[in-house]
Symmetry: C2
Subunit: 323 residues, 2 copies
């Protein structure tokens, strides 16, 4: 991918932010993701010549996140940059201000990983670009989830919508952000468990019948063709057309079928689970998000289930420098 990073900086410390992301977009399990405009994680970092790596965390859900530099996503990603460019003589002094809630399915560790890798790279004068930087950021995902998946961390880095076109070597194709659309996110207050992403992966079927694979491939095709042609109806049908991952994970999300039906009846283009859940999302036209969100939230309220609801845009920018 041609990278379009900001010009290089030489500073003693930097402060960057990286956004929440929606991975999978329905049928694109592990291979596509979308950057949201907010919420965002902020990472402040300086590079020191002694003292060991140091991590401090504050913000949303920070109590659940390890400060151990060997386990913390942002620190692991930053350390991977140092090692990749041969500067493992330096130490990170990093402060993370969490804005993306952990365990919500909105790419919390992906945002931290992207910000961690980008911030350290920026301090070093941007020696890494594109997929080389992404690979370091993915090490943060490996630390958080056990698997170095790129479908959150790539859009958190690059913005827009990112298709992971190859795993080995990692390669991506970035598409500009969708215009004139809103993304409604509903996060029901359910706890899937300590190791949410792992459990959400374990619930997936070990194998799938061939006819479902045809439907899944077709749905992913609709998503991509719609995205590239600017045909949001086709794209939305693709998003809603997941017959494998959504079918398995929907069991973990209260009232999933009702939420999806109501969203599509109300005119949303597409609806599915965000990443490993429990957040769900609807893609809808401009100015429709607020009403749709209230509508969906009420379905959960009727069952006594609390939820948070927010309306987002697809962000053109991924990581950016915060002044």
């Amino acid at each position: 991918m041609a990278s379009s990073f900001a010009k290089t900086y030489t500073r003693s410390s930097v402060r960057v932010s990286a956004p929440a992301t929606i991975a999978n977009l329905g049928p694109g399990y592990d291979i596509i993701g979308m950057a949201l405009n907010e919420p965002r994680d902020i990472v402040e970092v300086s590079l020191e010549k002694e003292g060991g790596d140091l991590v401090a965390i504050e913000g949303v859900g920070s109590e659940a996140i390890s400060c151990d530099p060997k386990k913390n996503s942002a620190a692991v990603a930053g350390r991977a940059v140092l090692e990749k460019v041969g500067r493992d003589d330096l130490y990170l002094k990093m402060k993370i201000i969490k804005g993306v809630p952990p365990k919500s399915g909105l790419g919390s560790s992906g945002a931290s990983s992207a910000a961690g890798a980008y911030s350290v790279n920026l301090l070093l004068g941007m020696p890494l670009r594109g997929e080389d930087l992404l690979q370091c950021a993915m090490e943060g995902e490996r630390a958080a989830c056990g698997s170095p998946h790129a479908d959150n961390v790539a859009p958190a880095l690059f913005g827009g919508v990112v298709f992971i076109s190859s795993f080995k070597p990692i390669k991506v194709v970035r598409f500009d952000a969708l215009k004139n659309l809103e993304i409604v996110v509903i996060t029901p207050e359910v706890e899937i468990g300590e190791e949410k992403t792992k459990i959400a992966r374990q619930i997936l079927p070990a194998s799938v019948p061939l006819q479902d694979i045809v439907l899944q491939t077709q749905a992913f095709g609709k998503l991509l063709v719609g995205l590239m042609k600017g045909d949001v109806v086709l794209m939305g049908e693709g998003i809603s057309g997941d017959v494998i991952i959504e079918r398995a994970r929907a069991k973990l999300i209260p009232k999933f079928e009702d939420l999806k039906r109501r969203a599509l009846e109300a005119g949303a283009y597409g609806f599915s689970i965000s990443g490993a859940g429990p957040s769900v999302f609807a893609l809808c036209s401009n100015n429709m998000g607020k009403q749709l969100g209230a509508n969906l939230k009420s379905i959960l309220e009727e069952e006594g289930i609390r939820s948070s609801c927010s309306v987002h845009l697809n962000a053109e920018e991924g990581v950016k420098v915060v002044s």
Copy 2:
């Protein structure tokens, strides 16, 4: 799909041709196909007020094809048009000149079905367009293969490259033909059996591990993104990236792995099985096809396997009127 058919005709008889096609293009099992410039089936038809449907066949492999109007693809497709527009008082008098060899994996029944449906529609003044006509043509495929798949008949009708974006109802997205590329087709002389397509379907796995589904979906994504961006390298990687259908069917094709390796080493962009096989195809740059074809043919010759080899273009037009 917006149709772009020729202007309507009012004639007592018409003569149209429809091309060979390559279905699947690797990972797009049942959902994508490409029109070749040749070979082509020709269908001549007139509509009579009495006498019953009559079918005559000549040309390549015609001895293997039923003249029974209830079983013949072109006639069944033509009859489906008559029924759909409420003109089942009329009878077909149809002559089919086969140019696309049956049982080769080049969409022989798809070409006949497309020509059969189109020719009758033309005689009636083109009452059907786009997917409505396609649906009639698909009835010809049902008669030939037992399943009304659209991945040959849609590109045979519409030309270019056609993505089947929905089955129920049938919907397609057509892409303009690939420019500056050649398609090398090698057809080894092997007989898979009487009911070739059925057997080639039976050999497919009943279910597939999830990690292969991710790779397959990714490969199909590369195919589509490459196609839409005009990035033939990416598209070729997608074509070559089928890990499900090709892996199963390759067993039916002599020296498949050697052919694929040699083609890619020689610089072909992509290589896979054409439809249900036994034909295989390579996508390569202009003016490279002839040499590559000879190269691949020699691999089979060394094993004492006869084969035919031909070099094609991706045709912009599907069915067309023959004067």
